[in-house]
């Protein structure tokens, strides 16, 4: 199935400074914290080189085996725009879905008309 041009949008409002929200996506320690699934005791291991062209690796330690997310950063414009690829070949262990170079997140600062 060709999904190259498919898009999915999610909107979420956070009542915190936009810099904090932005950094939480880039800083590996923060990512490992908030991406944690509470019932997966071993938590999340994250490492990243937060620069354009840099890569990240986020491993969610699911009890029946690790779920690995990897990708590279395409655009980093703190705090308004962050674009990265995401590959998660296994993800939920259902063997039927694949994240191919998904782009996300692209977000908008409501106070900035140009974002």
């Amino acid at each position: 199935m060709n999904v190259a041009n498919r898009q999915a949008c999610a909107e979420q409002h956070y009542d915190y400074p936009i810099e904090d929200v932005f950094d939480a996506w880039l800083d590996p320690t923060s990512l490992a914290d908030w991406m944690r699934v509470p019932s997966w005791e071993k938590g999340v291991t994250a490492e990243s080189q937060p620069e354009v062209g840099g890569s990240y690796r986020l491993v969610m330690h699911k009890p029946d085996g690790d779920v690995v997310h990897t990708g590279t950063y395409l655009e980093i414009e703190r705090p308004h725009r962050l674009v990265f690829y995401m590959d998660a070949p296994r993800f939920v262990g259902r063997g039927q879905c694949r994240h191919d170079r998904t782009l996300g997140p692209r977000w908008r600062d409501p106070s900035d008309p140009h974002s």
Partner: protein
């Protein structure tokens, strides 16, 4: 990137990714119909509609009963449940993770002396 074998979910999503096929399903969801009845509202040849129907059939969304020269079509909803479950899983997963981000930011905000995330 190695490609995965085509699953029933792939077939369902491909089948749904076309407005004509969705309209055919919507028609059949109201009740069984003959091929000619299904094709009637569309501004395309019976052959073209028949191709869409075959694709829906392969995806398991339509069942065909052949009675002499008459082809009776009926809607089968099961594959839609699977697709719905799949979408639901991701919706729930990301809803929880994004709620986790909110909780994380709240904790940060309530720790006045917390070390700030270093600037990238």
């Amino acid at each position: 990137m190695p490609s995965l074998p085509e699953s029933s979910l792939d077939k369902t999503l491909v089948a749904l990714a076309d407005p004509t096929r969705r309209a055919i399903l919507a028609r059949l969801a109201e009740g069984n119909a003959r091929m000619t009845e299904v094709a009637a509202p569309f501004d395309m040849s019976l052959n073209a509609v028949s191709k869409h129907v075959r694709l829906l059939e392969r995806a398991g969304l339509i069942q065909r009963e052949v009675l002499g020269r008459e082809h009776r079509l009926s809607f089968v909803g099961d594959p839609l449940l699977e697709a719905g479950d799949w979408i639901d899983f991701y919706r729930r997963f990301w809803k929880k993770r994004l709620a986790g981000l909110d909780a994380f930011l709240r904790r940060r905000a309530s720790e006045p002396n917390s070390k700030k995330v270093p600037k990238s």
